[in-house]
Symmetry: D2
Subunit: 146 residues, 4 copies
Amino acid sequence: MRELLPDRKAELVNSFSNQGLMKTFNATLERVDHGHIEISMPYSDAVSQQHKFFHGGGIGALADSACGYAAISQLQDGEASLTAEYKINFLSPADGERLIAVGRVLKAGRTLIVCQGDVFVEKEGQRKLCATMLMTMCVVKNLSHK
Amino acid sequence: MRELLPDRKAELVNSFSNQGLMKTFNATLERVDHGHIEISMPYSDAVSQQHKFFHGGGIGALADSACGYAAISQLQDGEASLTAEYKINFLSPADGERLIAVGRVLKAGRTLIVCQGDVFVEKEGQRKLCATMLMTMCVVKNLSHK
Amino acid sequence: MRELLPDRKAELVNSFSNQGLMKTFNATLERVDHGHIEISMPYSDAVSQQHKFFHGGGIGALADSACGYAAISQLQDGEASLTAEYKINFLSPADGERLIAVGRVLKAGRTLIVCQGDVFVEKEGQRKLCATMLMTMCVVKNLSHK
Amino acid sequence: MRELLPDRKAELVNSFSNQGLMKTFNATLERVDHGHIEISMPYSDAVSQQHKFFHGGGIGALADSACGYAAISQLQDGEASLTAEYKINFLSPADGERLIAVGRVLKAGRTLIVCQGDVFVEKEGQRKLCATMLMTMCVVKNLSHK
């Protein structure tokens, strides 16, 4: 795994800190590497569905961010990216204290970057895969991702 | 379009009010019919991405809820449902004051309910389609959706 | 609905006739309009699964072609396109004599074209929706689609 | 990796041989294990698109079959399964002599089985990942998969 250049990493960390939704989620960037991003969020009622599990839409949003920043970590200078689409399958109820979304680049083309996201839920020290995502980013030239 | 029975409607409205994420989003149930649900949310920094548009993950979460309640509106007594998966395509930047997610049931089977979601963004009185979703709910017998 | 220019239409029909898989399926272009394509295929054992229904993979392939040509019908001169991804939900068993896939452009951007596909099965004169697709094409400059 | 019971394996091999579409594709079951299936198909004009690569719809159909049989390999006696939906991302042009689709079960629940499919293309002895799939099977009690 290649490490990111310090400038690139600072830029990405700054972009993350400007995502209001990630602040609302109390989400934390746990790992920032070239094509590999991990983001965690604690459970709270603010991100729940009606059964007091994590809301599926919140799980999707966290995985979307992890995949998105994995793609951003591989952009060239002057490039930005937009989410084209994503698809998520829920594998287990997200019942626990914390979610960890792992986003990785599967294929970085000139125009499209395809990422895979895995979301784990932690409960009493056990980590369990609860969702998996395929996601496509579109590389654009004219939009800052800062 | 069939109207829901008053009991069923009250139950659904109550379930929605227990979704912490929808509260966090300041989301409102705009329409509750048999197989057709509309949910809106205002723009705020709390649901933004780094460019001050609505976060794609938040758009997905809103559409997921609209589709989910469209499915729930067609359940039989004693049935509940869980999100199996969803897929969303982003069609335009979600730049505006308000989102409206429209969830409709495409096909309600005994075990699976397939829904379609359309998300519109409103800006200065204009409404524009900004995302579309396909979503699958799994009907279960042993989980309350209240 | 705008009609295609005669040249463009001839080019598209020619491209379709060069798709070996569509020949294998005995598929027919039923309608070619700007952003709207219909393709049919008859049932035969050659496209079946083990229960003598249409194979889900064949249904996906037909919808993929309908969506792909819907996108191609809206390309500019000198542009070509590649399938980025698709997602299909199966709504009813594809038990019948004929499939008709309808592909339509939902949104044509400069880089991405998002299409929706609906697949109908015909049995004894009745037409039933059996599958629905969301599909993304990527516009490229350097590949002929002829 | 657990091996399948001989009876179960024979049943699955028999089901595969009854899929007309797999015969049309000259597809071969390369590996049959508990939750892990590999299917190959040679290139021919019969499965091509207009550029003489493998047709994306054919790639999807092969991956769908590999995922489907991976799910079937884990069914209990008296159970059958139906494809609910799949989503495929194309990563590289499928330019080569042979495709190999690898289907694996990610999560087998009582009602839903979620599978992952990877499709490789072989060209002059080199194997390259060209597509990846997420796919959901629905377990049913009343339909033979033989």
